[in-house]
Symmetry: C2
Subunit: 555 residues, 2 copies
Amino acid sequence: MANDLDISRAATMQPITSIAAAAGIPDEALELYGRYKAKVDPDQVPAREEKGKVVLVTAMSPTPAGEGKSTVTVGLGDALARTGRRTVIALREPSLGPVLGMKGGATGGGYSQVIPMEEINLHFTGDFHAITSANNALAALVDNHIFQGNELGIDPRRITFRRVLDMNDRALRNVVIGLGGPGQGTPREDGFDITVASEVMAIFCLATGIEDLTSRLALITVGYTYDRRPVTVADLGVQGAMALLLKDALKPNLVQTIAGTPALVHGGPFANIAHGCNSVIATSLARDLADVVVTEAGFGADLGAEKYMDITSRAADVAPDAVVVVATIRALKMHGGVPRDRLDEPNPAGLEAGTANLRRHLRNITKFGLNPVVAINRFTSDTPQELDWLLEWCSQEGVEAAVADVWAGGGGGPGGDELAGKVLAALEKPSAFSPLYPLQMSVEEKIRTVVQEIYGADDVEFSVPALRRLEEIKANGWENFPVCMAKTQYSFSDDVSRLGAPEGFTVHVRDLVPKTGAGFIVAVTGAVMTMPGLPKSPAALRMGVAPDGTPSGLF
Amino acid sequence: MANDLDISRAATMQPITSIAAAAGIPDEALELYGRYKAKVDPDQVPAREEKGKVVLVTAMSPTPAGEGKSTVTVGLGDALARTGRRTVIALREPSLGPVLGMKGGATGGGYSQVIPMEEINLHFTGDFHAITSANNALAALVDNHIFQGNELGIDPRRITFRRVLDMNDRALRNVVIGLGGPGQGTPREDGFDITVASEVMAIFCLATGIEDLTSRLALITVGYTYDRRPVTVADLGVQGAMALLLKDALKPNLVQTIAGTPALVHGGPFANIAHGCNSVIATSLARDLADVVVTEAGFGADLGAEKYMDITSRAADVAPDAVVVVATIRALKMHGGVPRDRLDEPNPAGLEAGTANLRRHLRNITKFGLNPVVAINRFTSDTPQELDWLLEWCSQEGVEAAVADVWAGGGGGPGGDELAGKVLAALEKPSAFSPLYPLQMSVEEKIRTVVQEIYGADDVEFSVPALRRLEEIKANGWENFPVCMAKTQYSFSDDVSRLGAPEGFTVHVRDLVPKTGAGFIVAVTGAVMTMPGLPKSPAALRMGVAPDGTPSGLF
């Protein structure tokens, strides 16, 4: 069978100018990056009175088997476009680190991909590089402030803002910098995160424009003084330079799917320590261009969708009008206790047991006042009996569902038509969206609400350091921020091994990290990896370029 | 008086498609980056039988007063274009680090600038970010190799390849990485250089194409094994991924001058630990497009021009046909002992004394078989008497010279006409270029030759570690590489305070660093700064973006 790269290369791309013209993007708004990529200046696109509707694609708890959420997002967008609705897809940009490490990026799969796949996965239009630069300029200016006399009295032991690289580089997780004597700075502990974990990335994706971006950057807390007062970017006066470094990156990137549907691929924050969705600016622009906007939230619905509702929707006017929950026969079996190497075999009991996971996610969506649609992403090992059984199960649960055959049948084929029909029907139904909790609730209660209402936990337990942080958050006036849960994506609990729909568990909050620029409090449960490492056999070692410039090893 | 940014903004830019069409660049070779920047694929530009001639712009020993070498390069290009000759300018890209630190970039000044100035100085087309990524991917893969079992037996104490950031970040000069326990890597000393100091940057600028690039990357020595054998990129198998990360960056960037002359701005290695000239690919492409190509070498002629002749010219077929040496009345006075705060006043004795510096540079150029032309870059404080005196001095020295009034009179005005005339005349004269030394000479003798013939030193002295390195270089078979001198740009000697044309001095080589991918041996004299720091009041603190996207503070 053809792999994703082969399919992507075999696709006939339209000039991005044609895609833009068909999407109603005026010429003066378009900045070309080669023939098949462009940046779009939202200020040059007329705002519409009636904005497009937003379809949020999320998923059951992910498994190592892979659910294909991006593939469904792209395939659904293509299928909606086939109905004649003006459709724009909004997706996150892939990070270079994982591309060199494990796998290609997050550009969908099979015949449901955004292209040009190689360029999107390598540098793209340079947005992540701009974010890396803005992040590291701030870091350099913090250390330079200390070196030049430390007028603000920053405690080098209490700097919380870290440097970043868009790279999987384990050796940079914990470092000591400023060595070499008085002329080289002040020695202190530091560390590098991957760029997608930067607070600058989160801000970039939540900002509604350059002014909002600058204001949010100014609010970043970089650390604390010797007398424990927070030090912000505004105290250092660096928000202007950071905004300048980000101003071109802030324009959404236009590409196309294999079927020629316009896609805005822009921004890409982590879905654990950040909110895990493409930029608000891209989604807003898409709503000015299209009748229907299909966008995707990171990880499973307990993380990505909850954050979309409680963080992203509040930061900008982008509440979802419909929610698609991606499920697969294989993932359900895994949640039902079937071992990974037996997923290809029919296992009705395992399949049924696994529906507990999906059921809890579906129930959660209704808690936000929204009606979910289940997208059963078809894998080649699925039998018709299994698919029929799952459709029937959904029907008994009172939930709309459709099989999406978009990996092999995407690219403008009929594989997503049924799903598109269900989604369009859902968009017609009244919905009464509301976030899960009011912002006035205490941080502790907000966390308890998420943990009990969404995860199904009995309660939450705070570590001693986390309790101390709760006090600091109150003292610093940060109580009204929403919470951003950093939890494993593989389980509703904070224990990766508890698949399905665990009961009778407690979630342990180890630490709380205020992100005052992004505007949320990260609640850390378990070990959260903000700088991945490379595997034993990194994908990079198989990559190359032919003399004619054709890349290899990139999938 | 208008500043550089005001002048740059007031300029009317032509669409880059028009500039490209006028330069004879076929449509299929052009990849647009917005309206005023493009990458040009050299493989899509027909090669010409008769290549354009190369004018190398270099300078007397620089002073803090500023000589305006880039300004003269741009102004000369504009003036040559005015004569009707098909002209292309080839320049280095500016680094972001200094832009945030001290000053704008290296895009010329006044009415002799390449534009859009802001975009060229900020991210541009992302080349330096690609180089940073390729460099740091290698570094991560080295540490990952050790972490995953260290099959090659790399000695973590003897890794010579460092990470880079395009940032002035003093605190990263000396760091300890890999802290945090066995799961986080192996603790070792490391450090970050600025991206322009990366060997990957030097290779990028010397490579003749993607295959040559890949071969050179494979030859980088990253460190040594426990039994002191060199470890190369080829041993790790990373050259393919690095080339892939660089493949799009490798296409030269097309912009325009204020007068509308096409300029290829591409690559930018340091002129001390590297060779300090724009990419060979850009210069070669320019020679396929134009009758005359004006390019610039970094620092003074003792460093930049010597390296152009002995390193760049050998790496590719780009020997200069004429050499312009930029001099200023102010710099001559400073070399003649006039204090910096008195440079605005006439001082005939000081001026005459300072000519000793220029004379030695002019003599040096003839040692390569080339006839120099002196460009007297006019500053507003220069008097007609001073300029006439210097023209007369040049005449007595038997050297062609012209006053270049290109800062205020550039942009297509007549300020560079006389210089252009002299340069065209020089191009008609026969020249007999040859490098200074044969490659078969020992490294020690090559260094001695440069030091005696070019700097005018009595001899060279090697430190004990440098002598040990000479042995290693012989043992590893690296004896036939040219040498790349890392010396202060402010003096012919290795003592910054000895201005003019010092006599009776010895140059001290502290260390030798083999750059086996770039293909030269760096001879380090004095302290060479490969990671600059930010000043007390960094330019970044004055930068910002207006709500309409207009940048401020960038000059």
